[in-house]
């Protein structure tokens, strides 16, 4: 069958994980415990590609060599247990088509699975510019003639009719990562935390070019906010860390783990607020070292997708209402207004981070696996 893939994996836990992933990809997965098992059924299964879990016995290099001997043209893809470019390049030199990085997800493995069917070699050129210039000369001559003819006619209309429109303000930006968890607006830049790469990205506000990436290997950030010239990051373990807004976001203190771990956090200038989307709770906390609970409120809307606050309101991006929900800081049990969010017109849109600053609301999330950030003016109601 065209969609059959063979997977060499000794661990039962990994087999269960991979079985689910390849089922999601629409592949028919045939599992082998080890290399001998794989070679024994290779001819019978006739897979379109072989995936090898790295770290097994014998090493992946030997498995690649032996499978290549039996099936010289089959694409082989080692599944790495961590992101290691040196290991990936070494395995690709040893015959692997490409390598998958950990964590293995359907989203990450889909391109590898799809691409595994097409193979060719690197093409070399010595004078690519010279070769292209011949074609360019003819194209430029043709373009010049057309431009002259078009200009004489167009100039007349251009003078009378057209005035150049003002440049459109861009309010949506693609992100090179797709697991945003928090967004903080600074003067001239925007900070976004990403749990998958365990990093905080600083973007230029105007064009969203990346100014800085700070890796946080000891923390998986699930929420982020700012307050009193410091950065607050919540981890998967429910621990909230206070960090300085310096070049490395140096840690200042850690609050004891909150249970359940919050997935939204903000500071209204006086109190800290955390949100738990699973329980649908918004918790007001005192700004003391342990951030003790002051009061817990039940979220009156549909579902908390992303959460933030400013000095006046609490804001929630609600995927069930497909709207931006505004709540009062004094009485979060009541919805003040809900404003439809056009971004939710896409069924795959997930807004996962929200911030409010100077009358603008900033959103970050992902749509069809691609990260994006955008802003809109605060609703008038």
């Amino acid at each position: 069958m065209f969609n059959t893939v063979q997977i060499i994996c000794a661990s039962e836990k990994n087999r269960t994980l991979l079985r689910g992933i390849f089922k999601d990809l629409g592949a028919d997965a045939v599992f082998s415990f080890d290399l001998n098992d794989a070679l024994a059924i290779l001819e019978k299964a006739r897979p379109a590609a072989v995936f090898i879990v790295d770290g097994g016995d014998p090493p992946a290099e030997i498995q690649l060599r032996e499978i290549r001997r039996a099936a010289p043209f089959i694409p082989m893809i080692p599944l790495l247990k961590r992101r290691d470019s040196g290991r990936a390049v070494a395995l690709m030199r040893a015959g692997a088509f490409d390598c998958a990085q950990y964590p293995w997800t359907a989203e990450a493995l889909a391109p590898l699975y799809k691409k595994a069917m097409n193979l060719s070699g690197t093409a070399f050129e010595l004078d690519s510019k010279a070769l292209r210039s011949k074609g360019r000369t003819l194209a430029l001559l043709l373009a010049g003639f057309c431009a002259f003819a078009g200009f004489s006619g167009g100039a007349y209309y251009g003078y009378k009719k057209y005035t150049p429109p003002p440049p459109a303000v861009k309010n949506s930006f693609a992100l090179p990562y797709s697991h945003a968890t928090g967004i903080v607006i600074k003067k001239g830049s925007v900070l976004i935390s990403d749990w998958h790469s365990q990093a905080v990205y600083e973007h230029n506000t105007k064009d969203f070019n990346i100014l800085k990436v700070t890796s946080l290997p000891e923390l998986t950030p699930v929420a982020m906010t700012t307050g009193h010239d410091s950065l607050w990051l919540a981890g998967t373990d429910g621990v909230m860390e206070k960090r300085m807004l310096d070049a490395r976001y140096t840690r200042v203190s850690r609050a004891p783990a909150m249970k359940p771990a919050p997935d939204g956090v903000c500071f209204d200038g006086l109190y800290f607020w955390t949100a738990d989307s699973r329980a649908g709770e918004i918790i007001k906390r005192l700004p003391l070292e342990a951030l003790p609970v002051f009061k817990t409120y039940k979220y009156p809307g549909g579902l908390i997708g992303a959460f933030t606050c400013d000095t006046r309101f609490l804001w929630v991006a609600d995927p069930r209402y497909k709207a931006l929900v505004k709540l009062s800081l004094d009485d979060p049990d009541t919805i003040i207004s809900r404003t439809e969010l056009p971004a939710y017109a896409s069924k795959t849109m997930k807004i996962t981070a929200l911030a409010s600053k100077n009358g603008k609301l900033w959103f970050a999330g992902e749509d069809k696996g691609l990260g994006l950030a955008f802003f809109k003016d605060e609703p008038k109601q």
Partner: protein, 99 residues
């Protein structure tokens, strides 16, 4: 145009704070290259590339992304230029001597 027997693997450093990515050259000339990778890189970004060509190791070759396209399989195809003349000359010498 000459062609290698395989797509050359490349280690890609996009930021000093993140572990490197990887990909393969689909086309390589002394001034520019087409790079195919499963990873999404920042457009207009500066990269540092390490790879082996005809048995010779090239490390920290500076490259700039001019254009990025995602194909229907989900792979990213980057059109790169090499801005460093000294590195370009070394690549040219190696490709000229390529069998």
């Amino acid at each position: 145009m000459n062609r290698n027997s395989e797509l050359i693997p490349v280690a890609i450093t996009a930021s000093m704070d993140l572990p490197p990515f990887w990909g393969r050259f689909a086309r390589l000339s002394p001034d520019e290259a087409d790079l195919s990778s499963q990873f999404r890189l920042a457009r207009d970004g500066e990269l540092s590339l390490s790879f082996e060509l005809a048995g010779r190791g090239f490390g920290e070759i500076r490259a700039r992304i001019v254009r990025a396209l995602r194909d229907r399989d989900g792979y990213y195809n980057y059109f790169l230029v090499f801005p460093d003349p000294a590195q370009t000359a070394a690549l040219r010498a190696c490709i000229e001597a390529f069998p």
